[in-house]
Symmetry: C2
Subunit: 586 residues, 2 copies
């Protein structure tokens, strides 16, 4: 299956876009007209550049306001079209996209439209160029794939076929099954774009919020299958207008883009089952390390192991294992390991999905853990069983004091440019599914959150990102990461741990808006915990101060099968962290 | 007229918001419940803080899902309401907002709703608290001001009145004139918010895109007048949910907010007529200064004056006057001067609208130019006649070589957080009106542009901002400012000036899509100019390289009364600048 990407998906000049598309492994590109017009390279130079990069030009686009033109205006359309055919000859491109007319003077007459497109197809055929005709969702008279097909059928010219675009179809209908009945050789081009479901003007939705396949909520899988079932044999090509991608490093975006097509195609090593988070590794600096050790001790962790060759400590409590890596200068959740039924297959799938493999400097006695980098740079290891523990020398410390902790989930603040990429990464590489999603007003701006999990909820990750890239205001409060530990007895586990005070106003409001059993209400307030509930049960949350300006630990209890993450409490937690920071500075 | 601001308009913790509101001169605040809940201060501490800052708490809000509750649920509503009345007693707040219910089980029965609100009003009245009832635009059954008034009328309790919110009314109707016929003493509160016209789900529109009055497109002036005509005597209070304001320095946002109310009230010194841009002042560094001098020489400018006491040169060509100030380390358009019929009145109006006055170090012989700072820091001088030229010693250089240039407009790239503030600033302080507006896809992301002008177009400014705050990608291409010079003879003026090459692809496309007279078409291509046209005429644009990474000059000719700014060409210009930068580095 050939893959292609429209230059409009990527940031930069045309030359930068082409380089990024090639580096990410695309087979071809769609040249978006505005990119070409602004390019200082001549069409011949672009042609050479494309060939040198091992790419092909699969489409030139768009040609607008062609069909349905009032007859007196059609001469100008023809003149403009001939000029673009000249250009395509110089570029060496053989397919041009004509999108349905939006001009206010467009005539609603299928016979006229078909005749005009036939005329343009005759001109194109003389140059061995094909026209792919596409119904824009906001086309003046032609806005559905059925209508565009009716006009193509009427025009009846071998150089005129359809361009199908998942966004234009799925933005206004789920009725696409009949696409599979089209003659596949009349589908000249397939453009793919996903999108979140937004209740807004379709033109604005399309121009600003498209996403790569499997990043949004449209049924890209079913749609693509229908087109392929029809017998379409051209490239799967991405045409995504997205405000963030337009500003982001095109090399990164191009990898994200191609990953989406690989995941969509799904001719992949199946994702092995995951059964838990084997460990989380925190980078610590000289100041944070001892602070974190104090917190871990208070939580009943024991320092049970020391790495054979690196400055890495192993701490254990119940099934929770935390590594403290002081070989790093920044405090961060730098890695986590997932229990996989088949680590090699997990790693193979990750590689197929363009995850960056991380070199392991393996010493003779060390376990060979395969690792890949997540979009935000976090290292993900795959392991099976406890073989990796052999890398650690036993300190002899006793771990019986534990209260049976486990790692509940990790909360990973994402870089602004990489949020949708991260969601796709975790869904496709790890086979995780979406869990709770939210958007809330935090003290320093809106934050969007998405949790992903495996089938039995033993692997859970929470991703979050500000709605707008942050500026200078409130620079001392970054967006911290956290490691959440699960206990069956929050009071016992947290006794002696320094947690951040929750404001009394929070409890007054909690009492006003909920009808909790008196005992639970008293427990929550006495513990100084945050509370959430869903139809399954209750959630109690405590959290430590932010360490090293970057990481805090959260200790939670899930009462009666609560399934969420307490996102609704995040603004209160963030304000409490902010207040504590101000106090500790004073 | 008392002014108030909802804490939700501002970024930060509650304490930071209160400080910002007070510093900007507001009389009162609306306490937004979530801000209070997350605050570490007790209600009593907040009460003291508010009083210490010279503020009052004009509203506590919102109380949700009260009226229309199924009877079995109303006991919980009452309990919750009593808790909030307790809280308001501690806060010393005397008015609570109840917004119309959105809960799915809300019963559509005005008699029930009125009865329930009457019951809550009885409870409130016992504490001398009033309820202001507001129809949310997305309320389940009550979504219009008429409906909310019908229920208030039916409930017939002295402690129950209306809250009117301009967004909730104007987002779905222009029919608000009858508000003026309401009994003013039953309007307990007035919330003001403007917004751009967006075709999207009203809840999302409201939560993310509200603006301060006169920053958007709703008829805030007419609406406010209707409410005041009814006899409303409470504060004008702002309730603006805006993603950018939520992230921006609250002190700056609060000033912007209060300016909007001052402008709306318009009890101001009238804006004196402006008649032109007297001069533009460019800061130059050691490298840029000589480069700019070379460009100015090539354009026929003469170095006619030298400031008596500062490192500032005066350059003149035709009526265009440019100052080069080498007493600054950054290259930028640091100031411009406007010809005003009454400079003192211009400055007085600016001060009334909270513009930051700039101190002038005046020497004995220097003209006393009043100056204020625009939101982006650009200094704006007001002057009349040529008195200020007396500050410059004549160099004796001859200016007869000129080709009759004038300053056409200035293009000022705005800081991301200050775009809407800047638009309001120029409209209100200088009395400018909106001209061309646009949004275009530039090589490194989308850019939004707004031009403002005076009545006879002798003062024109173009403001622009990226749609999203920029990140690290393409850091070497900031968003440059420019100074546009107008000529009647572009060929003659630009002869010998180094201008940036426009790609051949641009001309091929221009020829394809337009039907320009052959002579004009040849001229444009020969000059290497960009071209635009409107119903009045044509526009030819040339531009210099970006100097000092920040400023370029543009030379334009308006043929036949063209009125625009050529915004559509900006992507081509930006790509050309990018390409030249790469070449000049190589």
């Amino acid at each position: 299956m050939r893959t292609s990407v429209a230059t409009v998906c990527l940031s930069g000049t045309l030359e930068e876009k082409l380089a990024a598309a090639a580096a990410a492994g695309f087979d071809g590109v769609e040249i978006f007209e505005n990119d070409l017009i602004a390019s200082v390279s001549s069409p011949e130079e672009i042609r050479r550049r494309v060939a040198d990069l091992g790419l092909t030009i699969d489409l030139y686009q768009p040609f607008r306001d062609a069909e349905g033109a009032p007859p007196h205006r059609f001469a100008a359309v023809e003149r403009r079209f001939r000029a673009k055919l000249d250009l395509m000859g110089r570029l060496g491109a053989d397919t041009i996209l004509i999108c349905s007319s939006v001009a206010s003077d467009t005539i609603n007459d299928d016979a006229l439209a078909a005749g005009q497109l036939r005329r343009l197809a005759e001109l194109a055929a003389e140059r061995r160029i094909r026209i792919a005709y596409e119904a824009l969702a906001w086309g003046r008279h032609v806005s559905t794939w059925e209508h565009s097909w009716e006009i193509v059928r009427r025009a009846d010219h071998h150089a005129l076929g359809l361009c199908l675009d998942s966004f234009h179809v799925l933005s206004h209908t789920d009725e696409y099954a009949e696409i599979a009945d089209l003659p596949g050789d009349r589908i000249f081009f397939l453009q793919l774009a996903d999108a979140p479901r937004l209740d807004m003007d379709v033109l604005q939705w399309s121009r600003h919020h498209r996403l790569f396949p499997l990043q949004g909520r449209l049924d890209l899988t079913g749609f693509t299958r229908a087109v392929l079932d029809a017998g379409y044999s051209g490239p799967l090509s991405l045409e995504v207008f997205n405000d963030v991608f337009r500003q982001s490093d095109p090399h990164r975006t191009a990898v994200d883009a191609r990953r989406s097509l690989i995941a969509l195609n799904d001719a992949l090593t199946p994702a092995p089952a995951l059964s838990g988070i084997a460990f989380a590794e925190l980078g610590v600096d000289a100041e944070t390390g001892p602070q974190l050790e104090t917190v871990l001790r208070a939580l009943g962790f024991a320092h049970t192991g020391q790495h054979r060759s690196k400055a890495v400590q192993l701490w254990e409590q119940g099934t929770a294992r935390i590594l403290l890596n002081s070989g790093d200068s920044r405090t961060a959740i730098r890695a986590f390991a997932l229990e996989s039924t088949d680590p090699a297959a997990s790693a193979a799938r990750a590689a197929e999905l363009l995850a960056t493999p991380l070199p392991r400097r393996r010493r003779q006695s060390e376990a060979d853990l395969t690792a890949v980098a997540a979009p935000d740079g976090t290292e993900i290891f795959f392991c099976r069983g406890e073989h990796w523990l052999g890398d650690f020398l036993t300190t002899g410390e006793d771990r019986t004091r534990g209260t049976g902790l486990s790692i509940d989930h990790l909360s990973l603040a994402q870089p602004f440019d990489r949020y949708d990429e991260a969601a796709l990464f975790y869904r496709s590489v790890l086979g995780l599914t979406d869990d709770e999603a939210g958007e809330f007003a935090a003290p320093f701006g809106l934050v969007r959150t998405l949790a992903v999990r495996n089938a039995d909820r033993r692997v859970r990750l929470a991703l979050s990102v500000p709605l707008l890239r942050r500026g200078d205001w409130a620079p001392a409060v970054p967006h911290p990461q956290s490691l959440t530990l699960l206990t069956d007895d929050l009071a016992r586990t947290a006794a002696g741990v320094e947690t951040v005070p929750v404001p009394g106003n929070y409890y007054d409001d909690l009492d006003a808006r909920t009808d909790l059993p008196a005992e639970l209400r008293d427990t929550v307030r006495k513990l100084g915990a945050l509370h959430d509930q869903d139809e399954h049960g209750h959630y109690l949350q405590l959290f430590t101060p932010v360490l090293g300006n970057r990481v805090f630990l959260e200790i939670v209890q899930r009462v009666g099968g609560y399934r969420g993450y307490g996102f609704a409490n995040d603004p209160v937690r963030m304000a409490a962290h902010r207040a504590q920071r101000l106090v500790s500075r004073a």
